[in-house]
């Protein structure tokens, strides 16, 4: 059987819907899914295997009594600083299974921010975000979870940058590739996660309402982070909700 090669997100979504006989339809537009007259915000990182496995490590009690998250996300400006903060704060709440109760952020304009957040269940989190990588640089990120029993990370020990599955070295260039999904092979990692998120919304319909509420909530948190900078004091989250 020939390997299907996808270069279009919506074609890949249609393939999955047909294969798994899901009756809903929708179209991915930006970071949203247009379906049934609604525009559902997607939380694609929640479909990213490294994060689902980190969540499993907490949920299955491989890690016991989580204390602190140390998260970092650096981009070359493809995503705004607000988008980076949004993703990382959602990850804090989703992995910690608890809403942020307060946070204090220090911004360097709209280019970099360092945040310390506290979840309602007591977990602390540091979040470093920067949109200062040079153009064309691959995004960098690190997610470390420190628990009373065990540390988990999406970075292998003793390295500073993410690894790839394949590296090619030729006289012209060095390239690297990481493919994470054989069913919808060909898409970039970010597109794979968008398609999987859209598929989740269509195959588990209650996800739509949950993600819409979370989208509003995290947007408020991003504003509260800015308020903390403006007021030079921690913001107390007004919109606490279970993630």
């Amino acid at each position: 059987m020939k390997t299907a090669f996808f270069n279009d997100k919506n074609a890949a979504l249609a393939y999955l819907l047909e294969k798994y006989q899901i009756s809903g339809t929708g179209k991915i537009n930006g970071n949203c899914l247009e379906t049934g007259g609604r525009n559902i915000p997607l939380l694609p990182w929640r479909q990213e295997r490294r994060f689902t496995e980190l969540k499993n490590l907490i949920f299955n009690r491989t890690l016991e009594d989580v204390s602190t998250f140390r998260f970092a996300s650096l981009s070359a400006g493809a995503e705004s600083l607000d988008e980076l903060i949004f993703q990382e704060l959602d990850l804090c709440e989703w992995l910690g299974a608890s809403p942020v109760s307060r946070l204090f952020a220090v911004f360097s304009g709209d280019l970099a921010v360092n945040i310390i957040a506290k979840l309602e269940n007591g977990i602390s989190a540091s979040v470093e975000c920067s949109a200062m990588l040079p153009k064309d640089a691959a995004p960098l990120s690190r997610h470390e979870i420190i628990a009373r029993r065990g540390v988990a990370s999406d970075q292998v020990v003793d390295v500073q940058v993410p690894q790839s599955s394949i590296y090619t070295y030729t006289a012209e260039k060095t390239e690297c590739f990481t493919d994470v999904d054989a069913e919808i092979f060909g898409l970039s990692q970010s597109d794979v996660h968008l398609v999987r998120a859209a598929f989740k919304v269509l195959s588990v319909p209650e996800t739509a309402g949950e993600w819409m509420a979370q989208d509003s909530h995290i947007k408020e948190l991003v504003n509260e982070a800015k308020q903390s900078e403006a007021n030079s004091k921690p913001s107390i989250s007004k919109a606490g909700r279970k993630s």
């Binding site: 059987m1 496995e53 490590l57 065990g150 988990a152 990370s153 690894q163 394949i166």
Partner: protein
């Protein structure tokens, strides 16, 4: 498309549990039954609450489910010929584990039996459904590094023998009790029998056949095993490509009866890495990485938690497509024959301490 009614036979192969989720999720399949090799295996299966009837005899399963169209042969290698013949007699399609048999007469009898019955027999070499291997094939085909000159590949794992004891029994794994070489108490049937993937991959990636192999066994790192656990292989393809393969059980394990968390002693329980040198450059790849990492329960050891282990989805998709549309699978018995010959040639090389041609 009508869902394919499928069962799993024996449940004693290490890959068995990988199928459970796929058989449940894929709407093209209707998972009808399983039969267990023994009571212990049945208890482990039933603890998983899969909602699928488990029989203690193949006969009873077939009698109770005349609607069965296909089976996964998840059994010891020594059972395969008998089970293939039984399935062929009933016109049931077969998804075979990675070693149909090491006996080439038996192997040819399997081909003949399958041909006569007009059934599909796909051999489970799951690496072909791995996204990194998809990319690897694409890059090579597009000439990213030019014509391949040299391949080094690892297919190294922990040893599954404590959970799947037949893999340490020469008669069950290799099919017969044959000493590795004069003066060596160990027999054929260990790590090599568990790792055909890289022999197969070099054939696919080069588009060439294996010309000759040379192999050496090392002292076992598990001295109590009757079979080899450490060996190395090198050789040449017919197109001149040279290769070096490591198909060892070089990653130590906790001796669990049922695989699960804490199986690893070395952090990464399984690795398939390839370094390919071509006329235009070099490619290095890790087919199971990157991942996430932890040192939590149960043993507080640094451990790789795999993020991709979905090869069975694509493999089953191909199997259903082949059955429903009467196509030959990529890894069919005829294609796979030379891979088995090459593995036998490795054992012959160990025995003779010389390179062995693969016919």
């Amino acid at each position: 498309m009508k869902p394919l009614k499928i069962a799993i036979m024996s449940l004693t192969h290490g890959h068995t549990r990988k199928y459970y989720q796929t058989l449940k999720d894929n709407p093209k399949l209707d998972w009808v039954a399983v039969c267990a090799e023994n009571e212990t295996v049945r208890e482990v299966f039933e603890a998983g609450n899969h909602g699928v009837p488990c029989y203690m005899s193949e006969q009873e399963m077939f009698d109770r489910h005349p609607e069965l169209e296909a089976v996964v042969l998840a059994s010891a290698n020594s059972e395969h010929l008998r089970q293939v013949e039984e399935c062929a007699r009933r016109g049931i399609h077969i998804l075979s584990m990675k070693i149909p048999t090491f006996d080439m007469d038996e192997y040819d009898r399997m081909i003949e039996t399958v041909d006569k019955a007009g059934i599909i027999c796909q051999v489970e070499l799951e690496m072909h459904y791995n996204p990194v291997v998809h990319r690897l094939k694409k890059l090579i085909a597009e000439g990213a590094i030019g014509k391949i000159l040299s391949v080094q590949a690892t297919n190294i794992t922990l040893s599954p023998v404590w959970a799947f004891p037949w893999q340490g029994v020469p008669e069950a794994s290799y099919g017969r009790r044959i000493a590795l070489k004069a003066g060596d108490e160990r027999c054929r049937g260990g790590a090599l029998c568990d790792h055909p993937h890289i022999f197969d991959l070099i054939r696919h990636l080069t588009g060439s056949d294996i010309d000759f192999v040379f192999s050496e066994v090392a002292p076992n790192i598990r001295p109590e095993l009757e079979v080899e656990d450490m060996l190395l292989v090198n050789g040449k393809m017919k197109d001149g490509t040279v290769f070096l393969l490591d198909p060892s059980w070089s990653r130590m394990e906790e001796r669990l009866k049922v695989p699960g968390p804490g199986w690893e002693v070395f952090p990464k329980r399984m690795e398939v890495n390839l370094t390919i040198s071509g006329e235009k450059g070099v490619l290095v790849s890790d087919c199971f990485g990157p991942n996430v990492y932890h040192n939590g329960a149960p043993n507080d050891r640094y451990t790789v938690q795999y993020t991709y282990f979905d090869e069975w989805i694509g493999l089953i998709d191909e199997f259903v497509d082949c059955v429903r549309n009467n196509k030959q699978p990529l890894i069919n018995l005829r294609w796979h024959r030379q891979t088995i010959q090459a593995m036998n040639a490795c054992y012959d090389s160990i025995c003779n301490c010389s390179p062995v041609k693969v016919n």
